[in-house]
Every structure is written in structure tokens, then in C-alpha cells.
Symmetry: C2
Subunit: 146 residues, 2 copies
DNA sequence: AGATAATAGTTGAAAATGTAACTAACAAGG
DNA sequence: CCTTGTTAGTTACATTTTCAACTATTATCT
């Protein structure tokens, strides 16, 4: 360990990111959990459908970077709770087109509203410049491997 | 959603943070997994002991912000693999003081070395200023609730 | 001292996740 | 067509996490 004594977990980005992510998710999590009985995966799926329109599970898979089994289970549960409906595609019956129901759209709107506000709270003590840099760095980290 | 059409998941900090955290953890994860058969919880416990010296499970609990059951199980496994040893405290036999073994220290050193390098890779395309801001923002998010 | 509360840590069951194997539908080459 | 390969999605099983209950030990209050 020679001169490595100064290496702290707080200097280690993966750790910091995980901590920050957990902390930041906490407050929002309780909302979709308690109010709608959703898991994070379910909220993500609902969001993708609500935000980008009808699509198949595969498309969500690619966009959301979630494993297909997670999506499969999330869709099943969202369907049971009547937040999402599925309709087989005539042309290719392997797919099913997923749509948000009325109820789903209401939940989506509510959650988005809160998310928006919540996001604002999270960054409110940062300057505009800090916020911009933070978001930009995160975006790059989220896509590019080290 | 009226005028909320521009609200994207990519603008939502908890999502961005989670994505970035997952992505950033990926490369490092394989190291402690494949080379030492460790889980993330175990690596964290080992790190805390290696970096900050002997302490009880409770202390790790507070420092690392991990649930006590996670730590209990991590310690058990680390002990089985001879990375950590435990010694009852005379004064209060509810506690057990945890220490890193020779073998544990070697693993710790190796992982730290890699972590250090890995961290450098992650930030290498950011400017020094961006990096500083990123770390500072994350540190604050990691502690303060929104 | 004796009853009660608090603390450290463990254990067990339920929920969630990850991995791999599977089914069903389509595609393409012979 | 018919074999082989690919793709979308589901299911089964093992691992991990979470939550609640539990044990053992110490602290506190009267």
C-alpha cells in the first residue's frame, strides 16, 4: 500500500455514485411504492411507455437498458394492476405492443409531476453551472465504459 | 402533462445516477467477483476494515450505510474465506472486533490498486474542473436528502 | 438487586434479481 | 417445404436482498 494511504472510498467514483444514487432514489421510491405499489422496474417501464409512446418489450429493453426478464415481469405486474395493456401484433405474433391505460396515464402524470419537483429539490443547492456539469458528466458515465 | 413533454428520464437525477452507478460499477465488479469471489457488500466491508482499521460490525454499519444483516452475512463469508477475523471484545461481549488477515490485506491492496487505476480511467475524459465538481456534487448528494 | 429497555448481531422467510433454459413465431438456405 | 438459425418473450432455479423476529449482553431506573 506504500503511499496509497490517501485513497479513500469517497474518492472512488463507483462507490460515490452508488451512494448518491441510493440516497437520491430513496425519497422518490417511497412514492411509487406506497402510492402505486410499484417497483423501480415497473416505474421505469411505465415511464418509457408514457413518455415515448407505445412500444414492444424489446424496444423498452433496448432503450431502458434493462434485462428482458425484468421487463417481462414488470409488464405482467403492470398489466395486472391495469396500468398497461398489451395487444398482439398481427404482422409478427412474437411481439406484443404495449400501451398505457387511462389509469396508467394518470399514475404516470402524477409520478412525473412529482419527479420533476423532486429533481429540482435535489439540485437546488447547486449552481446552474455545477448542475449542468453534473448532468453532463453523469450522462457520459452512464453510457461510456471506463 | 400539459407542458411537461420535455421532461425526459435523462433529466431525472435519480435515474441518471443509477445508470451511471451501474455502468461505473460494472468493470470493477468483475474483478472482486472473479478474482476473489466477493460480493459488493463484502468488498465494501473489506475496504472499510482495510482503510480505517479494526472496528466492530456496528461501526461499519454506520460508516458504510449498509444494513446490519448485509454486514453480518458479509463478515461471515469474509471470515470463511480467511479475509477477515473476529475477536470478541472483553469489555462488552455483544461486540466483536473485526480485523483484516494477511490474506485479506493482500486482497485489499490488490483491489485498491486496481480501484485507483479504474477511477482514473473513469474520469480521464473530464477536465480537472469537471471532475472536481462531479465529485463534490456527488458527495453532497450522497449525504443530503432532497 | 430486579425489572425493563436498549444494543449488537444472527437467523429465517419473503421478495427481488440474475442466469440459463425454454417455447413460440418468424427467416433463410438448400 | 424442411432443416437450421434467430428473435421475442416466458419460466424455472439459484443467488441476493429485505424485513421481521429472535438471542445474548449490557445499561438504566426504581
Amino acid at each position: 500500500m506504500q503511499d496509497k494511504g490517501d485513497f479513500d472510498l469517497k474518492d472512488f467514483l463507483p462507490y460515490l455514485l452508488n451512494l448518491a444514487a441510493e440516497e437520491a432514489s430513496d425519497g422518490f421510491q417511497t412514492l411509487y411504492k406506497d402510492r402505486y405499489g410499484m417497483l423501480r422496474t415497473e416505474w421505469r417501464v411505465l415511464f418509457h411507455l408514457g413518455r415515448y409512446g407505445d412500444m414492444t418489450a424489446k424496444e423498452i429493453c433496448d432503450r431502458a437498458r434493462m434485462h428482458k426478464t425484468k421487463i417481462s415481469r414488470a409488464v405482467t405486474k403492470l398489466e395486472q394492476r391495469r396500468f398497461v395493456s398489451r395487444k398482439e401484433v398481427e404482422a409478427d405474433r412474437r411481439h406484443a405492443m404495449l400501451s398505457v391505460t387511462e389509469q396508467g396515464r394518470a399514475a404516470y402524470a402524477d409520478l412525473c409531476e412529482f419527479a420533476r419537483h423532486y429533481d429540482g429539490q435535489l439540485v437546488k443547492e447547486f449552481t446552474a453551472k455545477e448542475e449542468a456539469i453534473l448532468r453532463r458528466c453523469l450522462s457520459r458515465l452512464a453510457v461510456i465504459k471506463g
